[in-house]
Amino acid sequence: MSRLYLYGITRPRKVAKRLADQGIFLVENDGRAAIVSELDEGPVEATRRNLLAHADVVEQLHEAGVVLPARFGYQLESREEALEMLALPEIEQLLERHEKTCELTLKGTYEESVLAEVGAGLQPLRDAYRASPSVEVGIALGEAVGEGLAERRARDASHVLAGLGSLVLDVVRSEPAGELAAFDLALLVERDGVEPIEAKVEELSARLSPPLHFKLVGPLPPYSFVRLATPAVA
């Protein structure tokens, strides 16, 4: 019996030829469908190609309807296991919840000039460092800049979330990755809320750029909002 690789869960429908040609098919059960392909033995390699392929499948299907994207690497032992999974009431609840939603990711990054702004109040330390650029003074100065930057990050992230307001149904905040990263937000919005969000980001940018740069990606399937409230089975 062949194992299946799970891309996500959707409603029964026709799979586009481009995906079908890649071996993607649906296992259906009572109005719910698992998006799968057959899988050889062994673990899935987290190569660039495989990761992008997974994203491509769920994002393409999401364009035309609800998709609950599975975590990368999710494998099912058999078709029967897929059917069992689809029968869980939690799956139906998630499909209903996300019928008209999508995820947008909004990341903020600072220009280096933010460091000068943050460092503006640190004149004594800056003078000391310029006079004697030792490791000790450098760490003291850098640490103070780091603290200032952390405050700045928190402040800007709050401004941004407040600015987006009630268009955001739910949000997942991640630690921003990178020294000059400002924030990393996953936003759950209605599909027809995407354009209003774009407009809000423009407004925020008018206030906060420079030094803040925004990157807005989506509409994506609700990657960050498909955690089950309670595990289906302990």
Binding site: P43, A46, L51, A55, A70, G138, I139, G142, G178
Partner: protein
């Protein structure tokens, strides 16, 4: 990237309708997404190479020293600029200012690319192997 840098607010927004690269999908696919405990069979190899160094620890000595250097450099630059302002004003100071901003931003983006660890930098190899072990253990716990 440089094309994006304009005075208008739109110049500071990068817009992508879909995940446009590995950096966009990496964390989202590995950290997020549907998992149902009873059926979890997340079995992976190769993740470590991609995720190592993705989360930059801000509170590191290296970072502090880089911050200190940057503040010092920007500071000195400000001093230099103020000296040469009379010259620049006549020749269009704006143009110069814009070029400088562009440079800073591009530097930032490079730094981020580097942080994402997409390039195989020699120094990461050790970490790769360590987290390789812990990642597989984490995987079996999930079951």
């Amino acid at each position: 990237m440089a094309v994006m840098q304009r005075e208008s607010s739109a110049g500071y927004i990068t817009r992508a309708p879909r995940s446009s690269g590995l950096a966009d999908v990496l964390e989202i696919l590995l950290d997020r997404g549907l998992v149902i405990d009873a059926y979890v069979r997340v079995s992976l190899v190769g993740i470590e190479l991609l995720t190592v160094d993705l989360r930059v620890v801000i509170a590191s000595v290296d970072t502090y020293l880089r911050f200190a250097e940057a503040v010092n450099r920007l500071d000195l630059r400000a001093v230099d600029d103020s000296k040469s302002v009379p010259d620049l004003v006549q020749k269009g100071g704006e143009e110069i200012a814009e070029t400088k901003t562009k440079g800073a931003v591009e530097g930032g983006m490079d730094a981020i690319r580097e942080k994402i660890g997409l390039g195989g930098r020699g120094g990461d190899d050790e970490d790769d192997e360590e987290s390789s072990g812990s990642r597989s253990r984490g995987g079996s716990n999930d079951r």
